[in-house]
């Protein structure tokens, strides 16, 4: 898994467009939640190898599982309508719920982080995730409105399609690898 692949796959799974539709809170809350998600993502990446060992799953097989998750998540983003606003804790606690979880720590992000750890590219994955969360913070600066929401929904679908492609590429890689 290269840095560029991880960056695209993380960005597609984080899906800043759908995030913005689900959460219209303050940018500083989003930034704080992104940091929390990055921290968890890093922990997952650096423990990926040990976790896969404990589960008796080879990194190549887990890549196939990650591909499956990305594809399912991508199909959902491609076909589903606009997400409902996520219920949030009050104040800065919203950085944890719903920003960090469940909006940013999507299943795709979790499995990608673990898969990258299993493939011994944890640091690369953390770097890619750190950059991939920036558009999420950026999206929180966008003011809402009917036209904006329509554009965000279209963008969310596009990222869903990208996530499916990322899943397919990961599956091919997993099948071709020994």
């Amino acid at each position: 898994m290269t840095f560029w692949f991880l960056l695209l796959a993380f960005a597609a799974s984080l899906n800043p467009c759908r995030f913005r539709l689900a959460f219209a809170g303050r940018p500083e809350v989003v930034a704080l939640g992104s940091l929390a998600a990055l921290g968890v993502g890093a922990a997952l990446s650096f423990s990926g190898e040990a976790a896969l060992d404990a589960l008796a799953i080879s990194p190549e097989s887990f890549r196939l599982a990650a591909a499956f998750v990305l594809a399912v998540e991508g199909v959902r983003a491609l076909l589903a309508g606009s997400p409902r606003p996520a219920p949030a804790l009050a104040g800065f606690r919203a950085a944890l719920v719903p920003v960090a979880f469940p909006l940013l720590l999507q299943p795709g992000v979790v499995v990608l982080a673990l898969a990258a750890g299993g493939d011994d590219v944890a640091a690369t994955a953390v770097g890619a995730l750190a950059i991939a969360v920036l558009p999420v913070v950026g999206a929180s600066l966008v003011a809402g409105g009917a036209r904006t929401d329509a554009l965000l929904l279209a963008g969310g679908r596009l990222l869903g399609a990208l996530e499916i492609v990322a899943g397919a590429a990961l599956a091919v890689d997993a099948i071709r690898d020994v």
Partner: protein
Amino acid sequence: MLRLLLPPIAVFVLGAAVLRAAVVPAEVCPPLTTAQARASVAAAAGWLERGVRPDGRYTYGYDREHDLVPTDYNVTRHAGVMMGLYRLAATTGDEKALAAADHGLPFLRANLIRRDDWAAFAEPNGDARVGASALTVAALVHRRLATGETTYDDLIRELGRFVLAQQLPDGSVLGSWSGTTGRPVPGEYAEFGTGEALWALALAARTFPDEGWPAPAQRLARWIATERDDVEGYVLTYPDHWAAYGLAELAAGSLDPDEVAYARSLAGIFGLNSRLESQSGTGGLRRLMRGEPANGAGLGTIGEALAALWRLSVADPRLGDLSDDLAERLRCTAARTVERQADAAEAARYRRPDLVRGAWFTEDGYTQMDHERHPMAALLAALPVLEEQPPP
């Protein structure tokens, strides 16, 4: 807060359970010692050796649930058994294996057909499949290695010329020759015969390096690497362990970039097969999600391919990055192969223990000669990996 978190947590837990059960069950790779692998090889060889019959054939199979020995026979598998036993003799000096393999020679001679300058090991109806002759070349080359004798060199050449007679200008090899028309059957390729032909030509090239065998072997290798999957309609690289043998036998460094890429694809597909196999099991969710575990031949061919590709990866630096992973998969497949073999205690529960001991049975209690021969070859080839030695 719990109310907010419960739905997404439920999705994660449920999703993880589905993934674990359906996509990534644990890969079970039991420990395996070299002594266990050697004992398993000996037990498999024992099953084949006990199957020597007065008419020069071998016991074809056994249904232990119904105590039936089938009347079927197949010359390709006959050649395969001879090859496996000669290979064992060549590798370990096993005299009993050599004697049992030699026992198959009269049946071979009785079923040779000769035309022009070639000979083919044919079915009793006079049709000849390229795989039977190719495996006979492999058998006799290994007999030569085991004994140092050149007695069968002319027959090796004759059988090799049959393979050449089946080869088309594009390098491909037709699968059958018709006894009725006296010609190769046009447009018909053999599922495994093509890879077997490659191995035979590569062995002939190594055995008789100055007799023009390398060129047709390389033409066939190129066709397999670049056209075979398209022509024969395979979406993914066809998992052909014989092609792996063939590539490994060609002189190190002689593969062109397409052939190296093909070897890499083969390694991938057999690696995947090995991983999927290690996720399978005889009961519970594993059985439900992965179906019936691979039979002896299936297990063996995965191991044989991994071993051949490991050998190739050690010899050719362009594939060197695969060596460790191939070795790991091979160790796992070998361990699972040994685990599934019927031992003496299991055999004692059946009416004819001698037809059970050392064999690999399907879920419905059937085994046939290739279910023993392939695992035996795989375990034999896995020994250097288990001993952490370089390939022979």
